[in-house]
Amino acid sequence: MKKVEAIIKPFKLEDVKDGLAEIGITGMTISEVKGYGRQQGHSELYRGAEYVVEFIPKIKLEVVVSADEVDNVVKVITENARTGKIGDGKIFIFDVEKVVRIRTGETDEEAI
């Protein structure tokens, strides 16, 4: 099994989630993160002066899937999260050694 971890623009979450649901992915976990990268942070105005803000709000999406689904998942995320502008984000893929479903104790493929 693999974990697909995607850093995306927040307003793209809904499209990505819907896209994943369409290909039968029914579980995922998301969290709010801040990203730093090529995308220029914007300047802020506070107490009369301007400051550059370097960290930009992003959503981290984590989906654990069986190895053969990975390419499909990556494709769906890429398509749905893309705006074409800098800052669209990245996808990272990791190997998962084991999965357990807490409720039933099922493991691995059955637990996803």
Binding site: F11, K34, H42, E44, L45, E50, V53
Partner: protein, 404 residues
Amino acid sequence: MENLNDVKYILDSFLMIIMAVFVMWMAAGFAMLEAGLTRTKNNTVVLLKNIVLYSIAVIAYYFVGYNLMYGDGNSFIGSGFALSGISYDDHSLYADFFFQVVFVATAASVISGTVAERMKLIPFLIFVAILSAIIYPIQGHWTWGGSELGGLLSGFSDFAGSTIVHAVGGWAALAGVLLLGPRNGKYGKNGQVRAIYGSSMPLATLGTFILWMGWFGFNGGSQLAMGTKADIDGVALVVASTNMAAAVGAVTMAIITYVMNRRIDLTMVLNGALGGLVAVTAGPDNGMLAATIEGIVAAILIYVAVPMFDKLKIDDPVGALSVHLINGIWGTIAVAIFNPEVSMVAQIKGIVVIGLFVFVTSFVVWYALKLTIGIRVSDEVEYDGLDQHEAGIESYPEFAKNFR
């Protein structure tokens, strides 16, 4: 202190002053309510709009509006500027001005909520200036200013402004929102309505309580006098019935949503209370029973109007149209029902004439703004949130910045 007439002068003036302080406080209520019902990413702009709109209304009404409303002029419009040529025998001029000026800000605040989260800041503020300086005072001249538009509005009765303040704000908002369109994402591709949740129920509730408190000044002060037993009895009835209409509006909405959904919908209850307040405003002197019925009907109207506006794709984040426009009209009609001395024809004439005037003039102004500087932010700004682009600072700016 020389004689009892002076006492009356003092008491009447003091009533206006102290009640105006409570009405001013409503500006904070509108700000908190709107901030609570809109998204965090737009909250700084919401706050900015509310404090600056109040300020602009004060300045515009002082230099221009008050005279167009209360200056001599003709039956369409008053004359002069900066209080020139106006004086009163029976109460302080500045008490009168101070009480009137906070009302203008209320009308302007109504608009703010409806166009929230996608209107540009600058055209909004320009509109507020024009509304406060010209549009609001002209129709105010016909009614509270006493000109009756050459008799056309004679017999029209609106104690504290269900039509003159609240529906006026509502019509101006409606004209704006029709030209502005809904927030991105509010209506799905297949026409379904989607929820865009507000940022903070505590702020929304605080805002409602502030408005409720301020309304005692709004309606109670509109008695404009307390120097006789009849007047103070009037003030007392007005505040008691104002309170009643709000309470009934809230409870009715709680019952409706509980019956329909087995749960009570907080933001609708807040709207219910405010709807009761708007409805009672035209006739808070008509007794407790009138107030009770006005509150019940207000809640029902809002419960029907909120989804109706959504069906029409008129996107109103805070429900201001349902609260202020629909119930402003209902409250004005209710006067004819509960007060035998007021004719229904006069009321409807007033509603229509003022509504038409404000809607049309507002539409023209919004349209001119749209053609020139534009009234809507770009999609990108809407996605990022207006705060970043129009205010330059988020509403809770700390995260990932303040680690020093």
